[in-house]
Symmetry: C2
Subunit: 155 residues, 2 copies
DNA sequence: TTGCGTGCAAAGGTTTTGCATGGCA
DNA sequence: TGCCATGCAAAACCTTTGCACGCAA
């Protein structure tokens, strides 16, 4: 019979992602966090299923710092093709930006530069507010580990 | 004595990069192309020197498709921190965009979203004009291999 | 002569794959 | 009972590093 099976591993992964919507994880982190809560999932399985979810669109997949692939669960209602994303190069946090200027930008680029922007894949790289403050203050440690994340709806 | 030595390998690499300004290469491609012209350079050396050039700023380094690091030689007069870059997800071509809207964007993001954009690392991903035309026509092959590249100065 | 640069080979890390086993329908 | 899914281990990859040798200054 054709189709997909519902397994414990898939359910655990899905549950974890739902609970941590808009947070960013590497495959290893997901595996680790699941193991901590006693819901172990094999690394291969995590790779395979996250990849599938990314293709299906319910998870964003992108290259974070040090070339490590990051995954981020996106709520069903989120249409990531309609807003842009800011990636903090310090802590790896990914933020969604709903902002009118983005649409103007897309339109401008298309009309004046003959280039069709893909908001889903485009990443505005820089330094987020928190990390900028840390920079101003003491030294910054490598990871940062602040994985909470938000949305910026512009006025 | 402090300082850098001028070696055959460095000169070959530099010469190749100058000849292929604004084109994009992986380390392997550079090594291969140099070997083809009888100017072999070890992989480690290529990695080390390209990395050095990237830090120094005369070469752009970025994560291309499939997580393979790409390098692009930039002319001396180019100040890549002052304009943005568009990366075609089909053929891998990288284009420089000098455009007033980009500065407005940076300023807006900083003021309204508390995020400091890094133009040097930000990549506007999408489909370039050529590939869009190909899409409209027949099927597109994976690589595309059109590595020539241009600049878009906006009016 | 001094010490940076080079290149090989090995190590390092992430991601993919092969295959036997296990579980869903 | 059929297949799909899983997980281990191995392979595949790109990249970095250690170290002995070579070469520029």
């Amino acid at each position: 019979m054709r189709g997909e099976y519902s397994t414990r591993q898939k359910r655990e992964l899905l549950k974890f992602l739902k609970e941590h919507e808009l947070e960013n994880f590497s495959v290893d982190e997901v595996v680790l966090r699941l193991r901590e809560r006693g819901a172990s999932v094999g690394r291969s399985t995590a790779y395979r299923y996250l990849e599938a979810l990314a293709e299906q669109g319910s998870v964003r997949k992108y290259a974070g710092a040090q070339g490590i692939t990051q995954y981020q669960s996106v709520s069903d209602s989120d249409d990531c093709s309609r807003h842009f994303h800011m990636l903090c190069k310090r802590c790896g946090t990914l933020m969604h930006v709903d902002c009118g200027l983005m649409e103007s930008l897309s339109r401008h680029i298309a009309e004046h530069h003959g280039f069709q922007l893909d908001a889903r894949e485009t990443m505005l790289v820089g330094v987020c507010e928190k990390c900028a403050q840390k920079d101003a203050g003491g030294e910054v440690d490598g990871d940062g580990a602040d994985r909470t994340e938000g949305r910026h709806d512009c006025v």
